[in-house]
Amino acid sequence: MTQLVTAAPTAPTPESQRARPPRGSFGVVNFFSQGFLLLWAAMVVLPLLWAVMSSFKTDKEILSSPWSLPASPQFENFGRAWTTGHIGDFFVNTVIVLAGGVTITMVVGSMAAYVLARYSFPGNRIIYYAFVAGLTLPVFLALVPLFKIVGNLGTIPVIGPYIGLNSYAGLILVYVAFSLPFTVFFLHSFFRTLPTEIAEAGLLDGASHTTLFARVMLPMARPGLISIGIFNVIGQWNQYLLPLVLQQKQSSFDTDHSVLAEGLLNLAVAQGYKSDWSGLFAGMTIAMLPMLVVYVLFQRQVQAGLTAGTLK
């Protein structure tokens, strides 16, 4: 297949008005497909609604009558999750790490993917496959060595404290490194779909490679960049293994830099001991809604980017 899709696909337009003989079987299929879609949508939405509904209930209601409506909405669940669960602090930490992590991932990821996709040089394949291989490795296996590595970087004079354990930049760099495989893999195929002629024309006009990349290729790759950007936001937002180990206090005297996913898990783990289920669901709702809103706002770009990124 050769079509190149570089812009958002337009919705099917009613361009053809040809009359056509009615087909009875279509009515049945339509009914069936509507029904099936409805069913699947219900399967997706109901559990989420249930979680949001639970966040307004008391602990006793959650445990004793999990499927009933709250007798009276417990708004203080959110207050408790926000303050005593420190969801507010974790939120800020998450935004800081995410802003740095996603930005740097996009910059270095697109640079690497671009060079690997469009320039042949010795070692190209090796580097590309090394990145792709990263997709397959179980992250938690790397955690302990990673803890030492980040800890050691923290002992470097001057910059150490900024990139060591329990530092924002330290976690950001780790996020970037672990986001690279997917980013490079995704953007690699994307850059290769871009037309060669434009690049050649640009170089003949005397543009440098860097200018060509920044002025021509990146703008053309925009749909792909947006969708991989959104994947990285989702992925880094929900990451909890890496911060669990790297972003923890190294002694009781440290500042807590935990991110939201950890905070949520703290709440979740605490349920086995304290039965603060309402606080958990409130925290969950707080963590869940921003992502749903982000997706709803950007869903057109995601869909456009997905088409562009995977159609070769």
Binding site: L63, V144, G151, N152, L241, S252, A268, Y273, K274, S275
Partner: protein
Amino acid sequence: MANQPGSEFTRRQLLQRAAALAVLAGPAAGVLSACAGGGGGSAGTTGTKSATNPLAVAEEAPLDVVIFDGGFGVDYAKYDINLYKKAFPKANAAFSATQKISDQLQPRFANGTPPDVIDDSGANQIKPGTLVDSNALTDLSPLLEAPSYDDPNVKVKDTLLPNVLDVGTYNGKVYLLNYGYTVYGIWYNAKVFREHNWTPPKTWAEFKTLAPQIKAAGIAPWAHAGKYPYYMGVPIMDWVGKVGGKQVLIDIDNLKPNAWRVDAVKASLNAVLELVHNGWMLPGTEGMTHTESQQAFLDGKAAFLPCGSWLENEMRKTTPAGTELTVLPMPDLTASDKMPYGTLRAEAGEPFIVPAKAKNVAGGLEFLRIMLSKDAAKNFAQATSSLSIVKGSADSVTGSTGLASVNKVNTAAGDNLLAYRSVTDWYPTMINEWEAATGELMAGRFTADQWIDKVQAAADKVAADSSIAKFHRDK
């Protein structure tokens, strides 16, 4: 409360495991610390020994404590840290709280930078056996031999309840100070029993007469946390010890050949199977978590539930008003049980440790000495409605039916106390099979013989595996 020995199995709850993804144990410190410059541990800083400072704590050395934030909460630790600060005003003392002890601390152990005191408890506990085996812990004998906080003429070890150090003793040395004290048994709501005019059964025969009446009243006689078969270990293993005597459990722990193939085990399993096959179980209980089953029990859907004495505190927030939680020792199973009625499993739990590589070992030991003071112990009992291992710590605790009944049965039991370690914290591979077998038994998919075959095979496998360090106990 989540802190009892073996509680790593108790406290599991689904998210804990998801949370637990965790760090795979600390890495080969040798190789990495070579390039790491880590491994900064030494015997730690010390100060000058004196009458008020018998452990020679350096007055200015900071103290870093990690507390397991479980059912006990952290308020008691706050109190104890303040006591430490009062004693050493020049020291910066602080604690942090977590539920993920192992996930957070294994890298620090591996890096040679552990905290000074750890409350190593909960589902994500670091296996004590593993720590002991790796020489990662400080021998607590200097603490135990030191004069107590309140009376210089009495040693610390003499202020404790009898036998409470056994659990933390490995190969003759005390490495873990289990600060809490837990009683196990089956629980019922005395209020419900009174309303129905039921008498709590003292023998299995009485239980079997009562169960149909309970069922006729629309209540399931029995509930348990089937998702975590650890909980059914309470009645099964307690009965094994009660019917067969302490020696049976000691043989089992010591991996004696065919230790599981004794009548006591089979009798106990068959009795449990009667619960299953007579339809006395709460429908669905074989797949429920501890919180789900405990809540169903509290909501009056089931009459009995096996659990440890943390139950009352753990479910405090969602217990219906008027509930009178009461613990019951295992009923006599046969007319010839080796142990009398009232025999209990009761143990010290909530292990506190001082890492060998802690920067302030002396301070860590001193912190424990402070925790064992009358003041701290009394505060602990008040803050947590729980017993600690300090003698008389709960004397002032009132107003809780659960704790009152725990006190009562514990006093009545005297020396008739049971313990087992191999399937709670010594041999993880064996624990795994023991749990799996119990899960199958409770789902009605295993017979007693199948259970015994599976568990015995697991024990034999551990015994034959030279890579597993073995532990031993004589009492």
